[in-house]
Subunit: 405 residues, 2 copies
């Protein structure tokens, strides 16, 4: 008997133009377009196996080894139902196709993120879920078409269906049929763009982004101006910067938009804070790194950006990463050895944490205690969802997870 099963991995994405606010909370239609960089799955990914089998008694889902309830009308149920609907269209056009749309599915998903990395897994998770079902169902759908469905799982998931540089166009239709992801440029266009994720410890759990963004929509007087005027201009300008591989412009817009996202969060009633004193210090270091470089006749070297939490993501050309890692480690001593996946350091040129960039004013931040930045992850722009071989399936022959935590 045939086994209908597919396994994929999908990437994380980190936005440069931030998504913050929905105009339709059920369909997950945003108040503004957004744009992100897809990060390399060699470092960070969600892996998902989906299997359709008439012997299954219901749809089931396992996340990181734990079974999760699929709530009726919930986001996961919506995505599965939409994917079955697309499969049904295939079956209706070609009656020879097996009736997979009528079979229950088992879905098993795993994130490889380091423990407590504090990275949102909903984007890569829903992208992997939708992509795995698309492979399972052999759908002819384009990534943009699939992004319409992933969007209903988690808004930013739609951007993880492409590699490279990805825009989520907000669209205008009430049914959301034009609110989808498009690729601005593939990774191969600008493979030199690297990223350093600084995992920041935070005593206080922040406001969940889902509820926080709607409070901003309801109470921020500034958000409307951002939506109407600022974001459309920035989307056009950063798209042009990406096409031109113009890092200084890309960096300026990325930092300005991170700041503005946190500004409208602060302009919310009651105010929402995601940046803490460690986040502020990392901003001060990047600002000073850039100031010193420009003062010496150079250009902007790095761009920080922060999502709905205290973790920094620092984008930079590959050639600058060694200096950036040295700088961060100098102010934030690490308990664990830096995972040097790109070979920045060697026995001859070790990571010392004592090398400040030329002209850098060390007084812009104090030196923090060990643990203030819990970990560093060096990665780069990456590709879109990958189909994996059956060797990598997360479901066993019995249709249940191979390993249960």
């Amino acid at each position: 008997m045939a086994v209908y099963q597919a396994t994929v991995s999908a990437p994380v994405n980190i936005a440069c133009i931030k998504y913050w606010g929905k105009r339709d909370t059920k369909l997950i239609l945003p108040t503004n377009s957004s744009l992100s960089v897809t990060l390399d799955q060699d470092n960070l990914k969600s892996t998902t196996t989906s299997r359709a089998d008439p012997s299954f008694d219901r749809d089931r889902l396992w996340l990181n080894g734990h079974e999760e309830e699929i709530k009726d009308g919930g986001r996961t149920a919506t995505c599965i139902a939409e994917m079955k609907r697309l499969r049904r269209e295939v079956e209706e056009k070609d009656p020879k196709q097996p009736k997979l749309s009528s079979y229950p599915v088992h879905i098993c998903s795993h994130n490889n993120f380091p423990t407590a990395a504090g990275l949102a897994s909903s984007a890569s998770g829903f992208a992997a879920l939708v992509a795995s079902l698309a492979f399972l169902y052999a759908l002819p759908a384009s990534p943009s078409a699939l992004s319409l469905i992933a969007r209903q799982g988690s808004g930013s998931a739609c951007r993880s269906l492409f590699g490279g540089f990805v825009a989520w166009e907000m669209g205008t239709r009430a049914d959301g049929s034009d609110s989808l992801a498009v690729q601005v440029a593939p990774r191969e266009h600008w493979p030199d763009l690297h990223a350093l994720i600084c995992v920041v410890s935070d005593a206080k759990k922040g406001v969940a982004s889902t509820s926080g963004m709607q409070r901003t929509v309801e109470t921020s007087a500034l958000l409307q101006h951002r939506i109407r005027t600022v974001v459309p201009e920035r989307m056009a300008a950063i798209t042009e910067a990406i096409h031109a591989r113009d890092f200084p412009t890309f960096a300026k817009i990325t930092m300005a938009d991170s700041n503005q996202f946190h500004a409208v969060a602060l302009d919310t009633e009651p105010p929402i804070f995601y940046l803490n004193d460690v986040s502020r210090a990392i901003i001060a270091l990047v600002v000073e790194l850039n100031r010193a470089s420009v003062a010496a006749g150079g250009t902007i070297k790095a761009a920080y950006t922060y999502d709905a939490g205290p973790n920094a993501v620092i984008y930079a050309p590959a050639a600058n990463m060694r200096e950036i890692v040295e700088l961060i480690v100098g102010y934030f001593p690490q308990t664990e050895k830096f995972n040097d996946v790109f070979g920045l350091f060697s026995a001859d040129k070790p990571l010392s944490g004592n090398n400040l960039p030329a002209g850098f004013n060390p007084a812009v931040s104090k030196k923090f205690e060990e643990g203030a930045v819990k970990g560093l992850i060096h990665t780069r722009v990456g590709d879109g969802p990958r189909a994996l071989s059956s060797d990598e399936a997360l479901l066993g022959a019995d249709g249940l997870p191979k390993m249960v935590a």
Copy 2:
């Protein structure tokens, strides 16, 4: 021989609608109107003695016991020149008046703020300077007329020429002749409004407000919307709330405008942060205090506001102050005994720091170490500049400061 000398004290003011941005940096004309509460001089004040004497060889100024240079074309020189000009008008109308406008002046000023209170003294200081010269020169000028001059010393100083609730109307004229302070209501209208100043320790010196606000004007995309739309609405609404002694509305607007001021500071390139983790925790406590009160069928109890630094000012009706002090001391243990000027606590009802408000969720903040909040100052709405007796003069018979540090 006659001695021409006057001594005044002038109050601090803390804005509810924030001043942030100049449209003319020389005349100090703001990009938006603002509104403040004048604090009681019984607690915080600048005292200034001014003396005119033909035997003096030049204008001289002492601040807190140290002589300060009066720079040509600087803000102090501008204020003195403007005041002499007004005196000259008096002398021209009445030739019997002594020609004080031609005499050099000695000006001696002292702030009584607790050491390291972190309170800006420029507002009370320039108000005291202008008011003392107005008394010395026996000018017929109204406080609003004097505010035009104090404004050129330090923008927010214009609001310290009145007691109670004071608006600084931005005006529209290029010469600044309509950018002045007006009293919205005297202290006697709403004497019940109290304030608790929480002096917050900060390792990092923030960006000076003078340069910071112009960076915001130049780079913040959100500021223009604030200036054009938000502030005019809030000025009208908070004026109405003050007239109605409507604390909940006053509080909501005050907190929203503090948040928005810090939001546009964050929306600046590079971003400006004045709030630190301690400031954020105080906001969380006030938000939770209000939430618990409203949830129990009560009303908003307190309003936080932050100027260009980490210190909190908490406005509240007098009856709520005991609970607020208990709350703050509970999370921020004090090294010094609370200076209980209004007799909130007694041997029978001591300050314990262990009394949380009913229904209050203690998990909204961690408890901080001693020193995170360095001190607390309890004060209330106060009156405008006061003329003091010659017994309180800061200049001796020789026209020099009585005490030099």
